[in-house]
C-alpha cells in the first residue's frame, strides 16, 4: 500500500514530487496567491527556519501552476534565483535557463534597469496579445522569485559598509519597476520576495523598497494548533495511512514554539513513518517511544511489553539515548546513533577505498567535518558550506583522503537520514562518491541546535575562535613590527597557544573559514596558507627565543659557578700559606715561652719569700677579725632566738585556725561525698537511658535497613533471585533484631519477589466464565459459572481437585450476577431477569418469585437469607421444607448497594446508594435510620459484630467506621479511587477492600495505625476484582474479571516459610551496603 514516497521529508525541504504532502499552510497559500493576483507582488517575511521557502516552492508555486491564480494564460514561467554574490548575474542566469535567451544578452539588457525585464518579456515571444495565439496556449505568465533576499545584505560583495553594490541596486530597481508596470498595464507578470524579517530595517537603503514592502508584505504567522494537527495528520491520510489522535495530542502539546518547530516535527514524523513500517501500521505512541521521543512508562502494558522486547535487542551505544526521552531528543538520538554506527557502515558499504582506518579515525573525521560545516558568528553557530577538500585538509592526515572522508560521511547523506547535503537519492556512483570540489552543507540549522554532541563541539570551537582572534592580534603585532624578537610570545602565552594549535588542529582551511573578506574562496585558502605559515613561524621563533633565553640563563649560571670555584681555589691557597706561617710562629713562640718561664720561676721564688712575710701579718689580723666576728654572731643569735620564739607563737595561732578550717573542709568533703554518690546514681541512670537510646537507635537503624531492603526487593533486576534474597534478608533482619515483621513493605516485597521468580498464585480451575465463588468452612472452593453450573473443588496443596458438578440451568439465559450466601446455597439472576436459588446438597434449583437485577445478598440463619435489587426492594426469605417464601419485605426509593443480616437474625442492615444506612427489624417490619445522607455514593458494607463496628465504603475510596455501641463515627482514608468489593475475616480481624485502580487494601481492624497491606495491579495480573472471600486461615481468595482465581496469604510467616525452603543465601553486610548505596547497578 505505501510503496511510494514518505509523506514527511524530514529536515530537508519538500521536493516537487512531495508538494502533494505539504499541508498546514493552506490558508496562507490561498492568501499569498490572492495577494499576487491583485497586487502583482508579495514580500514574504518571517523568522529564520519558519518555512518561507517551503511555503513558496511547495505551496504557492504548485497552486498557481494548477491554475488557481487567475492569470491571463494557462502556462507559467517561474524564474527563481538567490542573490548570492551577484544578484544581477544570478537573475540573468535564472531567466536564461527558463527562456533560452543568452545570459550575456540579458546582462546587457537588464543593466539598463527600469522596464528592461518587461521589455524582454514582451519582445521574446512570451507575451501574446492576440486572441488566436492565446487560444492555442502560446502565451506564458511570468513569476519572478527572489529567494533568500537577505543575501543582498549578508554577502559583502553585495553590501559593504552600509552601501549596496551597483549590481544589487540595479536588481532591486528592476524588480520594483516590473511590479509597477505590471499593475499599470495589467500584464501577467508577478514578483515575489522571501526574506528574514530581521533584515527589514536595512531595506531603507533602497529607494521605494520600504513602500513596496508596506504595499504587499506577507508575514508568516506561527502555526496554530489546528494547523500543526494538519501538518501531522494530513500527509499520512493523503498517503493512505493514519496517525492516532493521542500521538497527535502528545506532539502538539510538547512542540515548543520557536525556530525549530517545523523541522523538528517533520523530522520526527519522518522517523515515525519508517518505524511504523512505512505507514502500514497506524503511527502511535509506541513508535515514538522507539525513537526516544517519549518514555516507555506512558505506554499501555501491551505496548510496553513490545517495547521492552525490542529495547533488549538494541546495542548498548543506542540504549544511552533512551535515558532522557522527549521530543527534543529525537534529532539528538538520530544523529548520535549515526555517529556511533558510521564506522560500521563504512566497513560494510564503502568499496572504493582501503579499510585502513580505525573507529577513532572515523569519529575524528565526522567531528572535523561537522566542525567545518559550522562557523561561529558573533558566538552563534551558523551553517558554513564547504568542500570535501577543505574538510580533508582540515583533518590533515596522510591516511585520510577525500575518499575516506566521503565514505565516513555517506551515512548522513542517505535518503532515510538526509542530515547532510548533497543527498544520495539514487544508487549511482555519481551520487555516492563525491569529488573534492563537491560542496557539503548541513540540511537545516535545527541540527546544530538540537544535536548535543555538535553543540558541545561548537562550544569548544567558540573558545578556539576567541583564542584565534587573540593569537591573531599578537601575530599581526609581531609582523607589523618587522618580526622583531621583542614582540615574540612570552613563555606562558607560548605554552597556551601551542596547546591551542594542537587541540584546535589548526590548518589553513580552518583559518580560511573565519576569513570574512570578500575575496573568492580559493584566494582565501591561499591567504590562509600564508597566515598559517606565519603562525607556525611565529610559534617556532617564540619557542626558539624562549629556548635561547633558557640557554643564556644556564650560561650565566655556569659563569657564576666558575667564578665561585676560582675564588674558592684562591682562598684555599691562601689558607695553606697562612697555616704554614702559623706553624713557624708557633715554634718561635714556644722558645720564647721557655725563656719567659725561667724568669718567671725565679720571680716566683722571690715572691714566695715576700708572701710568707705578709702571711704572718695577715694571720694576726685574722685572729683579731675572728674575735670581732664571734661577738657579732652572738648578738645575731640572740636576735634570731627572739625571732624564732615570735614565729613559733604565730605558727601555733595559725595551726589553730588551720585546724578549724580543716574541720570545715572535712564537713564539706563529707557533703561532697554525698553529692558525688547522688551524681553517681544519676550517671548510672543516664547510662541506662543512653543504653536504651542506643538500643532504640540500633532498632531504628535495623528497621530502616530492613525497610530499605524490602523496598529494594520491589525493583526489577536482571538477576531475579536477588529479589528473593532481599526479601529473605529483610525478614531475617526483622526476626533477629526482634523487630515487627508484620509490615506492609515486607509483605509486598515478598509477594513481588515471588512473582518475579515465577511463583504463580493462580488456581487452575474451570475455564468457563465464573459469576461468583465461595470458600467453605473446610476450605473447599465452590464456583458458579455463567452456564450456570456449580463446580466444587477440594484444595490440596496448590492443585484444586474437582469433586462435584451441578447443572443449575433453569433458563437458557446466562448468569448475570450471583451471590453465595453459604457453602451450600447460591442466589443468582440471569440476563433475562429471572432469579434462582440453588442448593449444593440437594442439587435442586428453585426459581424465586421476585424478579429483577440483584445488587446484594447475605447469608442468614435458621434457613433464612436476604436479597436486594437495584430498584430498592429488600426481601427476607424463609426456606420451609424446600419451599421458599418471602418472610418480610422492605421497600426504599433508591438502589441498595449492600445488605448484611445480624448474627441473631433479628435485623438486616441496608446500605443505600446515597450513603444512607438503614436498620430493618425483621420481626416487626420497622426501619430505623442509622446514618443519614452522605455527600458521596456508598458501595459496600461489612459487619464487625465482635467489636461493634459497621464498616462502609464510599465512592472517594474512604472507609467509614460506625460504632453501634457509642454511636461514633471515624473515617479511614483509603485512597482516591472508587471502591469495589469488600470482605471481612472475623478470625484474623482483617478487612479487605478493592478499588477501581486494580488494587486491594487489607486493613487490620484491631490496629488502625498500622500501615495496611496492599495488593497491586501486577499481583492481580492486571485484572479487576470481581469478588473476594477469606477462608478460615486468613487466606484471601480473589476472583478477577479475567476469570482468574488467585489466593494471597495474609500471614506473612507463611511466605517466610516458603522462602526458607529455597535455601536462599542471605545478603552479607558488604552486599547490603553496596545495594543500598546509590552506585548499585543491576536494577533497571
Amino acid at each position: 500500500m505505501n510503496q511510494g514516497i514518505c509523506p514527511y521529508p524530514g529536515l530537508r525541504p519538500f521536493t516537487e514530487e512531495e508538494t502533494i504532502f505539504f499541508k498546514g499552510r493552506d490558508a496562507d497559500i490561498r492568501a499569498l496567491a490572492k495577494m499576487l493576483e491583485t497586487k502583482k507582488m508579495a514580500f514574504v517575511t518571517g523568522a529564520s527556519g519558519d518555512g518561507k521557502s517551503s511555503l513558496v516552492y511547495a505551496g504557492v508555486i504548485p497552486f498557481i501552476r494548477a491554475g488557481f491564480l487567475k492569470a491571463e494564460f494557462n502556462k507559467w514561467i517561474i524564474v527563481d534565483f538567490k542573490p548570492q554574490r551577484n544578484p544581477l548575474k544570478s537573475l540573468c542566469e535564472a531567466l536564461a535557463a527558463h527562456t533560452n535567451l543568452d545570459v550575456d544578452y540579458l546582462l546587457e539588457e537588464l543593466d539598463n534597469g527600469f522596464s528592461s525585464i518587461v521589455e524582454v518579456y514582451k519582445q521574446n515571444g512570451l507575451y501574446v496579445d492576440n486572441d488566436e495565439d492565446k487560444a492555442v496556449n502560446k502565451g506564458k505568465n511570468l513569476l519572478i522569485i527572489a529567494d533568500q533576499f537577505e543575501e543582498v545584505f549578508t554577502n559583502k560583495e553585495n553590501f559593504d559598509d552600509g552601501t549596496p553594490s551597483l549590481e544589487t541596486y540595479t536588481t532591486v530597481n528592476l524588480l520594483l519597476e516590473t511590479v509597477r508596470i505590471a499593475v499599470a498595464e495589467h500584464l501577467p507578470v508577478y514578483v515575489m520576495f522571501t526574506m528574514r524579517s530581521d533584515f527589514i530595517p536595512q531595506c531603507t537603503v533602497f529607494k521605494y523598497l520600504p513602500e513596496f514592502i508596506a504595499y504587499s508584505q506577507f508575514f508568516i504567522q506561527q502555526l496554530k494548533r489546528e494547523e500543526i494537527t494538519q501538518v501531522i495528520q494530513e500527509p499520512a491520510i493523503l498517503a493512505g495511512a493514519s496517525v492516532s489522535s493521542r500521538l497527535t495530542d502528545y506532539l502538539v502539546n510538547n512542540l515548543s514554539s520557536g525556530f525549530d518547530q517545523l523541522p523538528v516535527i517533520q523530522h520526527t514524523m519522518n522517523l515515525l513513518w519508517k518505524n511504523a513500517n512505512n505507514g502500514e501500521q497506524q503511527l502511535d505512541l509506541l513508535h515514538l517511544a522507539k525513537i526516544a521521543g517519549i518514555s516507555k512508562n506512558v505506554l499501555s502494558p501491551k505496548d510496553r511489553k513490545e517495547f521492552d522486547e525490542w529495547y533488549a535487542k538494541l546495542p548498548n551505544y543506542e540504549k544511552k539515548y533512551f535515558a532522557k526521552p522527549g521530543l527534543n531528543n529525537v534529532l539528538n538520538a538520530h544523529a548520535g546513533i549515526l555517529y556511533e554506527s558510521a564506522f560500521d557502515y563504512y566497513q560494510k558499504n564503502i568499496a572504493w577505498t582501503q579499510k585502513n582506518i580505525t573507529k577513532e579515525d572515523a569519529e575524528l573525521i565526522i567531528e572535523t567535518a561537522f566542525k567545518s560545516l559550522v562557523k561561529i558568528d558573533n558566538s552563534r553557530p551558523v551553517r558554513n558550506r564547504c568542500t570535501l577538500n577543505e574538510i580533508t585538509g582540515s583533518i590533515n592526515r596522510d591516511n585520510i583522503t577525500n575518499a575516506v572522508v566521503c565514505g565516513c560521511l555517506n551515512v548522513f547523506r542517505l535518503p532515510e537520514n538526509t542530515l547532510l547535503r548533497p543527498f544520495i537519492d539514487t544508487e549511482t556512483m555519481e551520487e555516492k562518491y563525491l569529488s573534492g570540489n563537491a560542496i557539503l552543507d548541513i540540511t537545516h540549522e535545527a541540527l546544530i541546535r538540537n544535536w548535543k554532541m555538535l553543540a558541545a563541539w561548537n562550544a569548544e570551537e567558540d573558545i578556539f575562535v576567541k583564542d584565534y582572534y587573540d593569537f591573531k592580534s599578537q601575530l599581526n603585532r609581531w609582523i607589523d613590527n618587522e618580526r622583531k624578537e621583542n614582540f615574540l610570545l612570552p613563555e606562558g602565552n607560548l605554552i597556551y597557544f601551542e596547546k591551542w594549535v594542537k587541540e584546535c588542529n589548526l590548518t589553513s582551511y580552518w583559518i580560511a573559514k573565519y576569513d570574512n573578506t570578500k575575496i573568492p574562496q580559493d584566494q582565501k585558502i591561499l591567504a590562509a596558507d600564508i597566515e598559517y605559515k606565519n603562525a607556525i613561524e611565529f610559534l617556532s621563533k617564540s619557542r626558539d627565543a624562549v629556548v635561547a633565553q633558557h640557554e643564556r640563563r644556564k650560561k650565566r649560571q655556569k659563569i657564576v659557578l666558575f667564578a665561585i670555584l676560582a675564588v674558592m681555589t684562591l682562598l684555599t691557597g691562601f689558607m695553606v700559606w697562612a697555616l704554614k706561617e702559623k706553624d713557624i710562629a708557633k715554634s718561635e713562640s714556644a722558645r720564647a715561652n721557655l725563656k719567659a718561664k725561667e724568669v718567671e720561676d725565679q720571680m716566683i721564688i722571690n715572691e714566695h719569700e715576700k708572701q710568707r712575710a705578709l702571711a704572718a701579718e695577715n694571720l694576726a689580723d685574722k685572729e683579731r677579725q675572728k674575735a670581732l666576728k664571734e661577738a657579732y654572731n652572738a648578738r645575731i643569735a640572740k636576735e634570731d632566738a627572739e625571732k624564732a620564739y615570735n614565729e613559733a607563737n604565730y605558727a601555733r595561732i595559725l595551726a589553730d585556725s588551720m585546724k578549724n578550717i580543716a574541720l570545715k573542709n572535712l564537713q564539706s568533703a563529707e557533703d561532697a561525698r554525698k553529692e558525688t554518690e547522688q551524681a553517681l546514681i544519676v550517671a548510672e541512670n543516664q547510662t541506662e537511658r543512653a543504653r536504651q537510646a542506643s538500643d532504640s537507635v540500633s532498632r531504628l537503624y535495623n528497621t530502616a535497613v530492613s525497610n530499605a531492603l524490602a523496598m529494594k526487593a520491589q525493583n526489577h533486576y536482571e538477576d531475579k533471585s536477588l529479589n528473593l534474597r532481599l526479601a529473605w534478608s529483610s525478614w531475617l533482619m526483622c526476626r533477629d533484631c526482634g523487630l515487627s515483621s508484620n509490615t506492609a513493605e515486607l509483605y509486598q516485597a515478598m509477594l513481588f519477589a515471588m512473582k518475579e521468580n515465577g511463583f504463580d498464585n493462580k488456581l487452575e480451575i474451570t475455564t468457563d466464565k465464573i459469576a461468583d465463588f465461595f470458600v467453605s468452612a473446610n476450605n473447599n472452593i465452590l464456583v458458579l459459572t455463567e452456564k450456570p453450573e456449580i463446580i466444587g473443588y477440594k484444595i490440596s496443596g496448590d492443585a484444586p481437585q474437582e469433586y462435584t458438578r451441578i447443572d443449575c440451568a433453569e433458563s437458557n439465559s446466562p448468569v448475570e450476577k450471583a451471590f453465595f450466601i453459604s457453602d451450600d446455597k447460591v442466589v443468582f439472576s440471569t440476563k433475562d431477569k429471572q432469579t434462582f436459588v440453588s442448593d449444593v446438597n440437594s442439587k435442586k434449583t428453585v426459581k424465586l418469585p421476585r424478579q429483577g437485577y440483584f445488587t446484594a445478598a447475605d447469608n442468614g440463619i435458621n434457613n433464612m437469607f436476604a436479597t436486594a435489587t437495584a430498584n430498592g426492594i429488600l426481601d427476607v426469605w424463609q426456606n420451609d421444607n424446600g419451599e421458599i417464601k418471602i418472610k418480610k419485605m422492605f421497600s426504599f426509593d433508591t438502589k441498595i448497594s449492600d445488605i448484611k443480616i445480624s448474627s441473631d437474625g433479628s435485623k438486616v442492615f441496608a446500605l443505600l446508594h446515597k450513603g444512607i444506612l438503614m436498620q430493618c427489624n425483621i420481626n416487626d417490619g420497622s426501619t430505623e435510620t442509622i446514618i443519614d445522607k452522605h455527600p458521596l455514593y456508598a458501595y459496600s458494607m461489612e459487619l464487625l459484630e465482635s467489636n461493634n463496628y459497621i464498616v462502609t465504603c464510599f465512592s472517594d475510596g474512604n472507609i467509614r467506621y460506625y460504632n453501634t455501641e457509642n454511636k461514633t463515627i471515624f473515617d479511614f482514608l483509603g485512597g482516591h479511587s472508587k471502591p469495589g468489593e469488600m470482605t471481612y475475616d472475623p478470625n484474623s480481624k482483617r478487612l479487605a477492600r478493592s478499588s477501581s485502580d486494580k488494587r486491594i487494601m487489607i486493613v487490620d481492624t484491631e490496629n488502625f495505625m498500622a500501615q495496611p497491606y496492599s495488593l497491586e495491579e501486577y499481583n492481580l495480573n492486571g485484572g479487576k476484582v470481581k469478588s473476594m472471600k477469606f477462608n478460615r486461615k486468613g487466606v484471601l481468595y480473589v476472583l478477577t474479571d479475567q476469570n482468574e482465581l488467585r489466593y494471597f496469604d495474609t500471614d506473612i510467616r507463611q511466605y517466610a516459610n516458603s522462602l526458607s525452603k529455597l535455601n536462599l543465601q542471605p545478603l552479607s553486610n558488604m552486599e547490603k551496603r553496596m545495594i543500598l548505596s546509590n552506585e548499585f547497578v543491576g536494577e533497571y
Binding site: E17, K70, N74, N297, H976
Partner: protein, 313 residues
C-alpha cells in the same frame, strides 16, 4: 460592449472586496457566538472552574452548566444545545475506562459528552496543573482515549485555553454539501474544449456526468466548487489535450485538497495521445491513476475506470 466592460468592472470590484474582507478577517474572526457546556468538576478544583467561567464571560462565550445531580438525559439535552463541552481534569479521578457507572456529576457528564462526540461536537479537556507527560494514571487513561474531536490542553493559563478554544471553534470545517450526484465528474481546460466536448457526448450515453471547464477568464472559486461536487460523484476524470502542463499541476492539487489516497472519489488523469507524453505522468508514480489514449477510445477508458472503482467489473 458597455455591458461587458461593466461586468468586468463588477468582477474586479468583487475581487478587491473579497480581498478587503479577508484583510478584515482578523478583526471580525471571533464575532461568531459560541455556546459551550462547562461540566462539573471534582471538589479539589472548584476554584479553577470558577476562574474559567469568569474568563469565558470576558471572552463573550456563553457558558452553560447543569444543576447538581442532574440526570444524564438532562445533561445530554443541554450539551446538544451547545457546540462543545469543557472538562477540567484535577487530581481526583472520575473516569473509569471499563465504562462503569460514573457516580459523580463530573464523571456522569464526561460520559454524556463522550457519547455525543461527532463531527460537530467537540470535547475540550483542560489540565490546569500542566501535566504534559502522562504523570497521573487516570489522566494517562484519558489521554489514551483521545480520538478525533477531543482536544487536550495542559497550559496552566485559563486565558490560553480559552483562546485556543475560540480559535478552534471559529475555524469550523465547511460542510461537504454535495451539489448533484452523478457518476462522473469531468474536468477539462477550456482550451481543450473541442475534443473534450466530443468525449463528453460519447460518455453521456452510458454514464451521467457533471462537467467543469476551467478557464482563466472565469472568476469562479474552483477549489470550493470541486470540494463540494467531488464527493457527489463516484469517479473524477481530468482530461487534457494541449494543456498538459496545467493538467498535471491541477490534478496534483485536486488530489491533495480532496483527501489524497484516502479520498472516496478516485481520480483518473487522462490525456490525448496525440499530444500527451508519459513523462508528464511520471510525477505521480503510484499516487494517482493516469492514462494516455486516443481520443476515440477515451470514453471506453472512462467506462472501464468507472466499472473498476464501483466494483462492477
Amino acid at each position: 460592449m458597455i455591458c461587458i466592460v461593466f461586468i468586468k468592472k463588477l468582477q474586479l470590484l468583487e475581487k478587491i472586496s473579497n480581498f478587503a474582507v479577508r484583510k478584515m478577517d482578523i478583526i471580525t474572526l471571533f464575532t461568531d457566538h459560541i455556546r459551550v457546556f462547562v461540566c462539573e468538576t471534582t471538589p479539589d478544583i472548584n476554584a479553577q472552574r470558577q476562574k474559567l467561567l469568569t474568563v469565558l464571560s470576558r471572552a463573550q462565550i456563553e457558558a452553560i452548566t447543569a444543576e447538581p445531580n442532574a440526570t444524564e438525559d438532562t445533561v445530554k439535552a443541554l450539551m446538544q444545545s451547545c457546540e462543545c463541552s469543557l472538562h477540567i481534569l484535577g487530581k481526583q479521578d472520575f473516569y473509569n475506562q471499563d465504562g462503569e457507572a460514573f457516580t459523580t456529576d463530573a464523571g456522569l457528564q464526561y460520559r454524556a459528552a463522550r457519547s455525543l462526540r461527532q463531527k460537530d461536537f467537540k470535547m475540550f479537556l483542560w489540565n490546569p496543573f500542566g501535566e504534559v507527560n502522562f504523570e497521573n494514571k487516570y489522566i494517562n487513561d484519558i489521554r489514551r482515549d483521545i480520538v478525533d474531536n477531543t482536544i487536550y490542553n495542559a497550559n496552566p493559563s485559563p486565558i490560553f485555553f480559552v483562546e485556543e478554544l475560540r480559535s478552534m471553534m471559529s475555524s469550523k470545517s465547511v460542510a461537504q454539501t454535495k451539489i448533484e450526484e452523478k457518476d462522473i465528474f469531468f474536468i477539462y481546460n477550456y482550451l481543450d474544449k473541442e475534443t473534450a466536448e466530443g468525449i463528453i457526448g460519447m460518455t453521456e450515453d452510458v454514464l451521467t456526468l457533471s462537467k467543469l471547464a476551467v478557464s482563466m477568464d472565469n472568476y469562479t472559486d474552483y477549489t470550493d466548487y470541486i470540494q463540494k461536487q467531488l464527493p457527489g460523484c463516484k469517479a473524477c476524470i481530468i482530461y487534457y489535450d494541449y494543456a498538459s502542463e496545467w493538467a498535471v499541476s491541477f490534478a496534483r492539487q485536486i488530489w491533495k485538497d480532496n483527501g489524497g489516497k484516502s479520498a472516496k472519489t478516485p481520480i483518473l488523469l487522462i490525456g490525448n495521445s496525440a499530444h500527451a507524453t508519459s513523462e508528464a505522468h511520471a510525477i505521480f508514480n503510484h499516487v494517482l491513476k493516469t492514462a494516455i489514449s486516443e481520443v476515440s477510445l477515451i470514453p471506453l477508458e472512462i467506462k472501464v475506470f468507472y466499472d473498476k472503482v464501483t466494483g462492477k467489473e
